[in-house]
């Protein structure tokens, strides 16, 4: 009998022997992370299905703790000899200065069910079905407007099998599917050239593109953005009121708040928030959650990459810091509860606290009322991403937006970076819409060189004043 499914044909004895090897030099805790991933992709450009690809990733990461030190070894060769070698590498951090803990009896656990919502799993679908979806999106993009000169549509699907065993006796495994369809459109007018982007996906099956999000819509949305940008002027430069469109603008919350409440920055005391638990850092309108359990969402999972069952976590409660996103190490050091936010890019990486689906809760205001309240300002509509440093300084990049004049959206404008310091901005959130929406299920967050899929959400938000980095 094998401990896991067929992907990791490893008996309990073999597993226990690798764990024992990992603890041989006096560690406090050891963990094995087995991963098997199958990725498939299709690329269409220049009117042809240009290429398809398939890749397999297989490996084991062994982690050992000795006090606050982490030793890590990994291998993509699952022969007993190589696994033990990875365990010895991880054990080296322990330096034999204390007695080892012993491996507890294994108690199998199960991840949350129902996170992935798939009727027709992409992993077992024929590649011709994927090619058809790509082609439909591509053709809709080119047909959307005569100004569209080029389109590029990419499909990717992933099935990740993860199994985790640790010295506390945990055994747990999960299968995580993911789909992503993206379209880039290039529009030309005279010598001017612009691009638009759209995409969709998540932990869903191919049926997602039947009715929830037809591929044609993704093609058209990319085309519309590119064409709109051709007509767009330069964004303004300076301080002004800013309205954030619902949905994608959640990236502001991800940068301005989420990262700074990841618990590793608290145990290291590098986050501006490290000493602010229970303190007011924003207006009453600011209530923020991270919820890894939202069904079908890109940022969700039924267990984190340490085998912890995740739970929705309140981060900011009506402007007051209320919680942290923890992994095992930071929870242990800080004495905080495990929230199930220990994530890793793959088996070669040490897990660290990460966001999943971060959102600011809906507020009381009608979106029309919010717009009407601004005499002159900037409406941020579409975003390409953001970045933050521990001091709380953050930016996020707007690919397209509008000027607001006398309570109405007027001239379209392009390319501006918004910059601020998180506490300043959270205090300046002066209106929050009743229209909470989530982003388009294509987001990826990078931290310490590790990329993980995430999603963000927010309602229409008004920031009373913020620096807009346009060109005029």
């Amino acid at each position: 009998m094998t401990i896991f499914e067929d992907r990791f044909p490893l008996g309990p004895e073999a597993t226990a022997s690798v764990l024992s090897e990992a603890l041989a030099r006096g560690g406090d805790f050891a963990e094995l992370y087995f991963e098997y991933r199958l990725h498939s992709s299709v690329l269409m450009e220049e009117d042809i299905i240009k290429e398809t690809s398939e890749s397999v990733g297989l490996g084991l990461g062994v982690r050992v703790w000795a006090g606050d030190r982490t030793g890590y070894g990994h291998t993509n060769d699952l022969s007993p000899e190589r696994m033990r070698q990875a365990a010895r590498s991880a054990a080296a951090v322990a330096l034999a200065d204390r007695p080892s803990v012993s491996v507890s009896d294994f108690a199998p656990a199960v991840p949350l069910a129902g996170i992935a919502r798939e009727i027709r799993p992409a992993g077992s679908a024929d590649v011709t079905e994927k090619i058809d979806i790509v082609r439909r999106s591509y053709e809709a993009c080119l047909a959307a407007d005569p100004a569209i000169k080029k389109a590029r549509v990419g499909w990717g699907d992933l099935v990740q099998h993860v199994a985790i065993v640790n010295s506390e006796g945990l055994i747990i495994s999960d299968v995580r599917p993911m789909i992503k369809l993206t379209c880039v459109a290039i529009a030309e007018k005279g010598t001017a050239r612009e691009y638009g982007f759209s995409g969709s996906g998540g932990r869903v099956g191919l049926e997602h593109f039947d009715d929830a999000y037809p591929p044609e819509r993704i093609g058209r949305e990319a085309a519309e953005e590119a064409v709109r940008l051709l007509e767009a002027g330069d964004a303004p430069a300076g301080e002004m009121p800013v309205i954030l469109a619902p949905g994608h603008a959640g990236v502001l919350i991800h940068e301005a708040v989420g990262h700074l409440l990841e618990a590793d920055f608290h145990r290291k005391k590098t986050s501006i928030f490290w000493n602010k638990m229970g303190a007011r850092v924003g207006s009453e309108l600011v209530t923020i959650y991270d919820d890894p359990t939202i069904p079908a969402s890109r940022g969700s999972y039924g267990m984190d990459d340490e085998g912890t069952i995740p739970r929705p976590t309140l981060l900011i409660d009506k402007g007051v810091v209320a919680g942290l996103l923890t992994d095992r190490l930071s929870a242990k050091i800080l004495g905080r509860p495990l929230t199930g936010h220990g994530r890793r890019q793959d088996y070669t990486e040490i897990p660290i606290p990460r966001m999943a689906n971060t959102y600011i809760a809906a507020g009381p205001h009608d979106p029309g009322e919010i717009l009407a309240s601004v005499k002159k300002g900037f409406y941020a509509e579409r975003f390409t991403g953001g970045q933050v440093e521990d001091s709380g300084k953050f930016t996020f990049s707007v690919s397209s937006g509008f000027l607001i004049e006398n309570g109405r959206r007027t001239r379209p404008v392009k390319q501006a970076t918004l910059i601020g310091t998180n506490v300043d901005i959270l205090n300046r959130i002066c209106m929050a819409g009743n229209d909470l929406a989530f982003g388009q299920q294509t987001g990826t967050c990078g931290k310490d060189g590790q990329d993980v899929p995430v999603n963000d959400g927010c309602p229409t938000l008004k920031i009373s004043s913020m620096t807009v980095g346009g060109r005029t």
């Binding site: 220049e46 397999v56 951090v93 002004m240 001091s391 980095g469």
Partner: protein, 449 residues
């Protein structure tokens, strides 16, 4: 950890899979195998935080049948897995469209002896873990000895020993080994509510070229404390001096805009500018894969085309685009030996240094921004538009007056290239894309109203 495998084994493996691909019906097959042994230690506040040791193998392959391409990759190198992937790829190629430009490069007659590039340093292979731990500790300790530094994100020392093999059905068989060593530290200064941060690093192919812990620590401290007590400045247009790291970042953006792939995709503002003036007379930009002991060097690229020196921009004139074989065929240019994975990437891509010292560039500036760090994305290759968060020093009468933060800087890469006024003499190769200090005539700053 000794996970070095017999070198011949990888070559034999790659050749066997090429033959297997042909036997499955592929017209052309390319197999690349990589073997990397890594060691990394992160030290924070004097204690080891993470210690990573590993050996990784990976394989990538491309098959072409009837002008149709399929790719596959695996970190599981068992013959059953690879042979299944090859059979799948040959079958999947049928589903792609016929593409006249697809296919392997023609074999090249002579290949450089990789030893001439001096990319392999046995001293890195032999360096014991304890020394690496000591260097990381030492770097951080020297930095923390400065009382202005209040916290540390940690110091790291990393080494890699890589071995790359490439074989294809046109008879190419090449391999090289390459080493890497890096040492860095990242610091914080100021109060919790007014923190500033910065870092410094050294990354080299040879251990003897690596900067000392002392040098890295001192530079990191100086770079961090100069941000203390920043001011926000008002919205205005001023000259901007780019710190070498900022020039490198700008060149990285430019490099992406100069690939043949971006040209045929029309996703670069420079697509129609071949042979034209795109920058000032002083701008000469080179991609050189043959510089000995440099991080971006290699004897051949990811599809076996010999590396070479390519003058991309000469005295402001756009001379060529960087191409792999496919992009070259699409736009009617030769491959420049820049294949990287399935795309195009730089080897050593650098701006030729000028003769002015960075100090003289500062002295020439009556009023302006010395740009030290940016935050965020805000780079649009299609239009060349740039908009990013910025940190730097305000320059008055040729000298730094005070640090500035929470501003944005925006402009257009095309306009920036046309308005580079001065180029420094301080080029250092600490990455594959590098540039010296430069001064740009004017950019838009957004800050206080």
């Amino acid at each position: 950890m000794s996970v070095s495998r017999p070198i011949g084994e990888l070559k034999t493996l790659a050749e066997a899979f090429v033959r297997f691909g042909l036997s499955c019906g592929a017209d052309e097959v390319e197999v690349g195998v990589g073997d990397d042994v890594e060691f990394g230690v992160d030290v924070r506040l004097g204690e080891i935080e993470n210690l990573v040791e590993a050996g990784t193998r990976s394989l990538g392959l491309r098959v072409i049948r009837d002008g149709k391409t399929a790719y596959a990759g695996s970190s599981d190198l068992s013959p059953e897995t690879i042979e299944r992937l090859i059979r799948n790829a040959v079958r999947r190629a049928e589903l792609a469209s016929r593409d006249e430009c697809a296919g392997l490069p023609e074999t090249s007659p002579s290949l450089l002896d990789s030893r001439e590039l001096d990319l392999f340093d046995p001293a890195i292979v032999d360096l014991d873990p304890q020394t690496k731990i000591t260097w990381a500790r030492e770097t951080e300790r020297i930095a923390l000895d400065d009382k202005r530094i209040v916290n540390s994100h940690g110091a790291s020392c990393d080494t890699h020993v890589g071995h790359a093999v490439l074989a294809n059905s046109k008879g190419f068989l090449g391999e090289y080994r390459k080493t890497y060593a890096g040492l860095n530290v990242s610091l914080q200064a100021g109060d919790t509510d007014d923190l500033v941060e910065d870092f410094w690093f050294s990354s080299k192919v040879h251990l003897s070229d690596l900067a000392s812990p002392e040098e890295i620590a001192r530079t990191a401290v100086a770079r961090t404390v100069r941000h203390l007590k920043p001011r926000k400045i008002r919205t205005q247009r001023v000259p901007v001096i780019f710190d070498p790291l900022m020039t490198s970042s700008l060149l990285g953006f430019l490099c992406g805009c100069l690939t043949g792939t971006a040209v045929y995709q029309k996703s670069t503002f420079l697509a129609d500018r071949l042979g034209q003036r795109i920058g000032t007379e002083a701008l000469t930009i080179i991609d050189d894969g043959l510089l000995p002991r440099r991080l971006g060097s290699s004897p051949f690229d990811a599809e076996g085309v010999p590396s070479r020196r390519t003058v991309v921009v000469e005295n402001g004139i756009l001379k060529t685009f960087l191409c792999n074989t496919y992009a070259g065929r699409k736009i009617g240019l030769p491959s420049t030996g820049n294949a990287d994975g399935g795309g195009v990437g730089p080897s050593n891509f650098y701006l030729q240094p000028g003769s002015t010292s960075p100090a003289a560039i500062l002295r020439s500036t009556e009023k302006g921004l010395y740009l030290v760090r940016t935050l965020g994305h805000g780079l649009n290759p299609v239009s060349g538009d740039i908009s990013r968060g910025a940190f730097g020093l305000w320059i008055e009468n040729g000298e730094p007056a005070y640090p500035v933060s929470e501003i944005t800087i925006s402009g257009n890469l095309g306009e920036i290239l046309q308005s580079v006024e001065m180029i420094g003499d301080d080029l250092v190769f600490d990455g594959s894309v590098c540039g010296p200090t430069i001064k740009v005539a004017e950019m838009q700053i957004a800050g206080l109203s």
